[in-house]
């Protein structure tokens, strides 16, 4: 029956965002070959167009949710949520990149093509319902990100960043792959649902030790991607070295997608052995929060500071994972959305101020920004307050929801330690506020150009989003809650 080998049209629609992204990326690559620098102004717009179309497609695909390609993909609410998230991240990054690329004289199509490919990979990751697809998505996303981290190839730190990211990243991917191989050998399947049913049934003799071992291997692989302690060592160097918009990208998009994979694998396939991996996640969450926050206290480079803060925030999401409940999953989803917004916003301000070749990236360079550019300072204040977790921002509500889930699952000590951690974190975010508002203007603040249109959007949209998530969280929360239920099937 040859007809069955061809995917049905509904399946193609469920795969539409990825196809659009890939097509747009390919067009950009070809355009680069034909026109080169001459069209350099148009590439950004083209990439925005592709991302916007993919965003629409992601929403449209949710109109008829279901599996695609013999169940290898599952375009459900969960996938739709994360697709919209990672594509929106892509849009914001492109918006934040215009000025940066012009300043560095590096407006090429390949930059945008790589972002599109990376986003496409992330979309595959969040839709994948099966370990091989997860792996393929992860690789598409990662390889593009490795290149992006070293995009300014004449810059020493860019090279260092890319090399570190690549070497450690490949190493971690190997762990993941090894784990996949083991689990396939043990259960005879790579489908998450099939693995789950094998692990849940009592009559099949699967060695618990070996299952635990392979779960641990996969935990290492994904833990690296989300920069969870103790696999976080790479993050500060990579974030500091990479071009600033790419640091923003790495801390939001790939991280969110990796967490989506985390949730899918551990809440679906490994749900039956939950009590086994919970202590692991518990410990990793605590370590991430503590290491991230305490290391950030002493940083003077703002990109490094945000990198450590991103480790800490990964810890908060792991708290939600440790809760092992639908509320926890929904909380993690909500938090990732809030975190993506506030972190991109903060990095976008850094990109705005840093100047050519990252001249101004120390915390002190933000001195007096509030006098020179009150709007920029106010927007950064919103993001920082959200990162601290002050009410009426998305960051607060996300944190609240995470710890609510944790307490429901009786993780009292983890919650107490986590919230005390967030008080520690307040200190280093406040340092930025202090220099911005309470010091005399520095060279950087004086030299800063006015905000460009692209950057204004890249700042105002996340700020509005942060307030929206903080004041009217219900819509997103309900959607996340609904999708978290679907995940269990």
């Amino acid at each position: 029956m040859p007809a069955e080998f061809l995917p049905k049209s509904v399946e193609l629609i469920r795969f539409l965002p990825e196809m659009i992204l890939t097509a747009a990326g390919t067009v950009l690559m070809v355009a680069d070959g034909i026109a080169g620098r001459r069209w350099s102004k148009a590439y950004g717009n083209l990439s925005l167009l592709g991302l916007a179309a993919a965003l629409l497609a992601a929403v449209y695909a949710y109109g008829d949710p279901g599996p695609a390609f013999s169940g290898m993909l599952m375009a459900d609410g969960f996938a739709a949520f994360f697709r919209v998230l990672v594509i929106s991240v892509g849009i914001l990054i492109v918006l934040a990149s215009y000025r940066f690329l012009a300043r560095e004289e590096a407006e090429t199509a390949e930059y945008h093509a790589l972002i599109l490919f990376s986003v496409a990979g992330q979309c595959v990751m969040v839709t994948a319902n099966e370990l091989i697809m997860i792996f393929i998505g992860l690789e598409i996303s990662s390889i593009a990100s490795y290149v992006l981290a070293g995009y300014l190839r004449d810059d020493k730190r860019n090279n260092e960043s890319a090399l570190k990211y690549f070497l450690l990243g490949s190493f971690a991917t190997a762990f993941l792959l090894y784990g996949i191989a083991w689990i396939y050998g043990l259960t005879g399947s790579t489908s998450l649902v099939a693995i789950r049913s094998v692990l849940a049934s009592r009559d099949m003799a699967v060695s618990p030790f070996l299952v635990g071992f392979s779960a641990a291997l996969m935990f290492v692989g994904i833990g690296f991607k989300v920069s969870a302690a103790p696999f976080q060592i790479w993050a500060p160097d990579v974030y500091q070295g990479a071009p600033t918009p790419i640091s923003a990208f790495l801390s939001a998009g790939p991280k969110a997608a990796a967490f989506a994979v985390f949730l899918r694998i551990f809440m679906t396939a490994f749900a039956p052995i939950g009590s086994g991996w919970e202590p692991l996640v518990w410990l990793s969450a605590l370590l991430s929060m503590t290491i991230g926050n305490f290391a950030a206290l002493t940083q003077s480079n703002i990109k490094r500071l945000l990198a450590y803060s991103s480790i800490a925030h990964a810890g908060y999401v792991l708290v939600a994972l440790a809760a092992r409940s639908e509320t926890g999953t929904a909380a993690a989803m909500f938090y990732l959305a809030a975190y993506a917004l506030m972190n991109i916003g903060a990095f976008a301000v850094v990109a705005h101020l840093s100047g050519k070749g990252d001249r101004f990236v120390s915390v002190d360079d933000f001195a007096g920004l509030a006098t020179r550019q009150p709007l920029t300072a106010a927007l950064l204040t919103v993001f920082l307050l959200s990162l601290i977790g002050v009410p009426l921002t998305g960051g607060f509500f996300g944190k609240f929801y995470i710890f609510k889930a944790a307490l429901e699952s009786n993780l009292v000590w983890l919650s107490v330690l986590g919230l005390l951690n967030s008080a520690v974190a307040a200190y280093y975010y406040l340092r930025i506020l202090v220099v911005m508002y309470m010091r005399e203007p520095s060279e950087a603040a004086t030299a800063a150009e006015p905000l460009t249109t692209g950057l204004t959007f890249a700042l105002v949209l996340p700020a509005l989003g942060t307030f929206f998530l903080g004041i009217f969280p219900s819509a997103v929360l309900n959607f996340a809650g609904k999708s978290a239920v679907l995940l269990r099937r």
Binding site: A370, T371, P374, L385, I388, V390, P391, L392, F396, F400, Y401, F403, K404, L407, E408, V412, S415, V416, L419, L420, S422, A423, A426, Y427, L430, R431, L433, V434, Y437, M438, F472, P473, S474, L477, N478, G481
Partner: protein, 515 residues
């Protein structure tokens, strides 16, 4: 929309209006800020006149869903406890704006925006009847105060601002755990419902759970009060803050802590509160005496007033944890008194700083010759602060001491030492600053009060006198609410309290729900 919502919304509206005004038109910004603040004050008067003495529970209440899941309500209401604290906030905000009129000359727009945002947060804290909403306001009020201290403060302002923020943040992180825990057990944030569930026995905790929950709330409140030994942020914050910041901090923000103790700790965790009471009272008494002793040796006027706050707030905590009607009434009354008289002291010290540009006592002397009216106002405030009869603090201190004596006579004895000490340090301060020879620097700079400053001072003086002479205008709603809180705090108490000595001066008619 009830009047209470209007009172709450007005400062927020003012905040937005000020934000939209152009940065250059500073005079317009000042006028807009004071107009909004005055309108808010007038509206809040309506709350006092409209508060019915017959109705039970919170009034002017509004309850609409804000976030659907988890269900969080915009649920506000007011009773005798919150009423006067709201009015205290709306009363002091215009005064703070008046005294900042000339002294704040940089970033005027932000300053007034933050003042109004602060007022919004403070009112919100005192009217919330939803635990989540309460937490939101609790944290929101932190941000403007942080900026007020950090931007417009004195030399060590940054250190003080960060310390203030972190102390409070650490405390409230624990409180958030407690709030979420209660929500997970009760299934609601609605405070009224939670109390009903406690009363009817639907919601109960084991002894250790209750103790931990109590501590999670108590520590957050104790930091804010501040209770010895958690007070170390206070002298820094007070000294470094600009005048308006010090006033709002001392007069209203510290009351958030004591308010929380009365509103949340006593009714929700009666057992744990009673078990901890002896320890807390000891800390409060240490605070009273220690604060007074440290105040005595301060060379800096603002620091002296700041430490006197530690001492005065010790009285409030003592009154609360005496678990007597008199003590509790006195504590609430003392919250207001301290707000008025210490607020006035900070205003006056601020006015002197504007003239002489120094806070060191040694830089002053003989001010009474140079500025007789200023000195008179200061003297009246000093006398109020040390608890002279006919002035406000006397009433509060008396009630607290009486209540403490009913609970345990020794507590009252030790606390009374604080009253004596307060007379020592305040009068000594007055003597050193206002009497003696007038140095050249003082005579040259110390001009007397102008119209604007009189406008700020007269309402404060009037309140000191009114609250000292005619307590009947203020005390009845407080007593009614405290009666209900004490009743609630006897529910589910495992070791039943001996027959309470309830307000002997209250007839059954005045307590409508007395059985």
């Amino acid at each position: 929309m009830t009047l209470l919502t209007v009172v709450l919304a007005l400062p927020l509206l003012g905040f937005l209006v000020v934000l939209l005004l152009p940065r250059e038109s500073e005079e317009t910004i000042r006028r807009a800020a004071i107009s909004i603040a005055l309108v808010t004050f007038l509206a809040s008067i309506g709350l006092a006149t409209g508060l019915s003495s017959e109705a039970h529970g919170p009034q002017f209440s509004t309850d609409v869903v804000w976030i659907s899941s988890p269900e969080i309500h915009y649920h506000v209401g007011i009773d005798g406890l919150g009423l006067w604290l709201v009015i205290l906030s709306t009363f002091l905000t215009p005064i703070c704006i008046l005294v900042s009129w000339r002294s704040i000359d940089k970033r005027v727009k932000e300053f007034y925006a933050f003042m109004l945002l602060l007022e919004f947060g403070l009112i919100g804290v005192f009217v919330s009847l939803d635990l989540f909403l309460f937490y939101v306001f609790w944290e929101v009020s932190l941000v403007p105060m942080y900026f007020l201290i950090g931007i417009w403060g004195h030399e060590r302002r940054i250190y003080a601002a960060v310390k203030f923020f972190l102390y409070t943040m650490a405390g409230s992180a624990l409180m958030l755990v407690g709030i979420i825990y209660i929500y997970n057990r009760a299934g609601t944030f609605n405070y009224t419902t939670i109390l009903e569930m406690f009363t009817s026995g639907k919601l109960g905790f084991t002894q250790s759970q209750e103790m931990l929950l109590f501590l999670s709330f108590f520590i957050a409140f104790a930091i804010k009060v501040p209770l010895f030994p958690l007070h170390t942020w206070l002298p820094d914050a007070h000294v470094e803050a600009p005048t308006a910041g010090s006033v709002m901090l001392a007069s209203v923000m510290l009351k958030m802590g004591t308010y929380g103790l009365v509103r949340y700790c006593l009714p929700m965790f009666p057992d744990a509160s009673r078990r901890c009471a002896p320890w807390i009272v000891v800390l409060a008494i240490i605070g009273i005496i220690y604060g007074a002793l440290v105040a005595m040796v301060q060379p800096n006027m603002k620091k002296l007033v700041a430490y006197s706050s530690v001492s005065h707030l010790g009285f409030v905590v003592l009154g609360i944890f005496s678990f007597t009607q008199l003590g509790l009434d006195g504590a609430v009354y003392q919250m207001l008194n301290h707000g008025i008289s210490t607020g006035a002291l900070f205003v006056l010290v601020g006015l002197m700083y504007e003239r002489r540009h120094s806070l060191e006592i040694a830089d002053y002397g003989g001010v009474a010759t140079a500025a007789p009216w200023l000195s008179t106002v200061f003297l009246i405030t000093t006398l109020a602060s040390i608890g002279l009869p006919m002035l406000n603090n006397f009433v509060g201190e008396y009630l607290v001491l009486q209540g403490a004596a009913l609970a345990n006579f020794r507590w009252a004895v030790f606390a009374a030492i604080g009253v004596i000490l307060s007379a020592c340090y305040m009068l000594w301060l007055y003597q050193r600053v206002f009497y003696g020879d007038t140095p050249e620097a003082v005579a040259g700079h110390m001009h007397d009060l102008n119209y604007r400053e009189w406008a700020a001072a007269i309402p404060l003086l009037a309140m000191m006198l009114w609250m000292g002479v005619y307590t009947a205008s203020f005390l009845p709603p407080i007593t009614r609410t405290n009666y209900a809180i004490l009743e609630q705090s006897k529910m589910n108490v495992r070791f039943r309290v001996a027959a309470p000595k309830l307000a002997p001066y209250l007839s059954a008619r005045e307590v409508p729900h007395a059985r």
